[in-house]
């Protein structure tokens, strides 16, 4: 009975893992990089490495941002401000641009709101200077969006695809636990140089030893998008207007109609101070100003992250003209909202201090390794069967396809990621459409690698792509120092840890990839006939 269950779970594990593995590797790699989203963005703006803006109070920063936005975003229906914190010395401002006069007042105005429709600025909190335009880039946000929106398709499609893959991942993890016969006996076991046995050991170690993380990140990942995947509950209570639901959930400004009467916006600084004192000194993190300059303006302030696991942070809304407090700053959410808040918070890990962030990153790398070893093992196990059937060294179409997909999705992505960083530094700093050009370089490099992988899925191709990716990664510190960033000597001496950390992590990853490429040259093609009959 148990053998039957194990065998059927082994089948389920193999196919639920393999078929989505190539996308999962992208999701894991992009998500792992996103733990250092802010640091990646900073690295990709070398002009800012040495220019740590002067420290000012949150209230002064809010006042300064208000002055800038009043000029930059006239008539905008909504501003979003992120105030400075430990990882972000600048104010990040986004706004919905004013609708063009022709479309205003018409019911059939185009509803399409893409990311590019937003205006954005990175504002020095002390001087009000725009720091963002020194070098336009998506930075770490690119990997963050890539890991659940994908690219070159609507975000909706991307999220459905990623959601399907995540669900498969959850199935693969649970069936993997059932089918792994020796979780405790092989707990610490890794035996290199033994063909299939070594791949299985590596797959087991990276899966079992980081199992709490894998379960958490897969499940909470689905939770972050649960209102999209399982909309019926929300639809039954909010039959028509999901905006009303999100307003109740997030306490945002809601769908207030403009009064059409101009009224000066209240100063944001004093509102920041009042909110902070209502929270016993906890800092304000984000501000949403709805209808600035209109008589119906509201200002919603949300507490800064870092005071607990939850993503569901306390917020308070003020009347944007009179400054009257409209909501209770100490309001507690219901149990369901709090549960979701903690799960969301666990997934994005913004609460984490540097050490816990590093531990999350390490577990994320273990997840990448688990997915990569998993899909590679399928090919390793399949090869002897093909050798038997087609003759030594010849393989059928399916295995050749999997070989190509493995190579293109693993080595190809590891080649494209550093290309993105190199493009950031080698493209002219002031060129138009710069963020799109960087992203195009990323996908061009990946596409070339993928085509080459599908055409020649061979060991020399693995060596070539891993070696190239490794060299590009390992040379990132050199590139950084040579193209105007704070090089390792400077960043270590002056304690610019975000930049030093980025350089060192890239160097480490690069050396690991170069080592992998070198190992592939040393090892013979078929060292030993792989063991048969072990469950994956």
């Amino acid at each position: 009975m148990m053998g039957g269950l194990r065998l059927s779970m082994a089948w389920l594990h193999t196919w639920s893992g393999l078929l989505v593995g190539w996308i999962l590797f992208l999701v894991f790699a992009g998500g792992t990089a996103s733990y250092f989203r802010d640091e990646i963005t900073l690295w990709m703006k070398p002009e800012l490495h040495r220019a740590a803006p002067a420290q000012v109070t949150q209230a002064a920063a809010a006042d300064r941002a208000q002055q800038v936005l009043a000029q930059r975003a006239p008539g905008s229906p909504r501003w979003y401000l992120a105030l400075p914190d430990e990882r972000n010395p600048a104010v990040k401002a986004d706004w919905i641009p004013a609708r063009p006069a022709a479309a205003r007042g018409e019911g059939a105005a185009p509803k399409k709101r893409t990311r590019r429709a937003f205006g954005s600025a990175t504002i020095d909190p002390a001087t009000g200077a725009d720091l963002g335009k020194v070098r336009d880039t998506r930075g770490g946000d690119f990997f963050f969006r890539l890991h659940f929106d994908l690219h070159y398709m609507s975000a909706l499609w991307g999220r459905w695809i990623v959601g399907f893959c995540s669900m498969s991942m959850l199935v693969a993890i649970l069936s993997g636990i059932v089918t792994h016969k020796r979780i405790f006996k092989d707990f610490f076991t890794f035996r290199p140089g033994k063909g299939q046995r070594s791949w299985l050991d590596a797959h087991n170690a990276t899966a079992v030893l980081a199992l709490p993380y894998h379960l958490m990140i897969t499940y909470t990942g689905l939770v972050t998008l649960m209102f999209m995947y399982l909309p019926s509950g929300v639809n039954s209570v909010y039959p028509e207007r999901s905006a009303a639901f999100y307003q109740d959930l997030n306490g945002g400004p809601g769908d207030v109609k403009p009064a059409g009467v101009a009224a000066p916006l209240a100063a944001l600084g004093p509102l920041v101070e009042r909110a902070s004192s209502a929270w016993h000194g906890a800092a304000v993190g984000r501000i949403v100003v709805n209808l600035p300059g209109d008589a119906n303006a509201t200002v919603t302030l949300t507490q800064q992250e870092g005071h607990g696991l939850t993503h569901d942070l306390p917020s308070v809304t003020f009347n944007g003209v009179t400054g009257a407090m409209l909501t209770d700053p100490g309001k507690q959410s219901g149990a369901a909202v709090q549960t979701r808040g903690v799960m969301y918070g666990l997934h994005v890990g913004r609460f984490a201090d540097p050490l816990v962030r590093a531990l999350f990153f390490l577990s994320g790398l273990a997840g990448c390794a688990m997915v990569a070893t998993g899909v590679l093992m399928w090919a390793v196990k399949e090869r002897p069967k093909h050798n038997k059937k087609h003759g030594m060294g010849r393989i059928g179409f399916g295995l050749r396809l999997v070989d190509g997909l493995n190579l293109g999705s693993i080595a190809g992505l590891l080649l494209a990621m550093p290309v993105f960083f190199w493009a950031n530094r080698l493209l002219p700093a002031a060129m138009a459409q710069r963020p799109e050009a960087e992203i195009a370089w990323f996908f061009m490099a990946w596409a070339v690698a993928f085509v080459a992988a599908l055409a020649w899925p061979s060991r020399p191709m693995w060596r070539l792509q891993l070696g190239l990716g490794g060299a590009l990664f390992a040379l990132v510190p050199v590139l950084n120092a040579a193209t105007g960033g704070a090089g390792l000597a400077t960043s270590l001496a002056e304690g610019i840890w975000a930049i030093a950390g980025f350089d060192l992590v890239c160097l480490g990853l690069g050396l690991m990839l170069l080592y992998a490429a070198a190992r592939l040259r040393m090892a013979p093609l078929v060292k030993k006939l792989p063991l048969a009959g072990s469950a994956a």
Binding site: K185, F187, F188, T189, F190, R191, P192, A205, T206, L209, A210, P212, Y213, G308, L309, V342, L346, F351, A352, D353, L355, V356, L359, F360, L362, S363, A366
Partner: protein, 128 residues
């Protein structure tokens, strides 16, 4: 967050927790036949008493790491930091057992001693 006032005391406690966790995993691994044999030679096995002691020592190392994490970080974050440390140190233990299988017990003892020394340093810094 700040369990001890001295700026170096908390890093010392965190380092002690990492050492205690690694030491604990190494002790637990030595209670297993495969890793014991890798160190002490084929055909040998720990006596039942040795096995029990190793398991108790290993569990103690993990518990010490847990208590230190809960002391340094508040509640829930302490548990997350502990789980993260367990993962990181178990991977380190697997690498150590693969590439230096004969030094398993040396590593376990060295890490335990280092954890103790770091704890002592943290307490001394706090008392200063």
């Amino acid at each position: 967050m700040t369990a001890f006032a001295h700026p170096l005391a908390n890093p010392a406690l965190v380092a002690a927790a990492l050492c205690a966790a690694l030491s604990g995993w190494m002790a637990l691994s030595l209670a297993m036949a495969r890793h014991w044999q890798n160190q002490h030679g084929r055909g040998t096995a720990p006596t039942p008493q040795q096995s029990r002691n190793l398991r108790a020592a290993g569990a103690a190392g993990l518990v010490v790491a847990n208590l230190l994490c809960l002391f340094v970080w508040d509640g829930a974050q302490g548990w997350i930091a502990w789980l993260g440390m367990l993962t990181a140190m178990a991977l380190a233990a697997a690498v150590a057992l693969c590439y230096a299988p004969r030094r398993a017990s040396v590593l376990a003892v060295a890490c335990a001693l280092l954890a103790g020394a770091l704890l002592f340093c943290a307490a001394a810094l706090h008392a200063l």
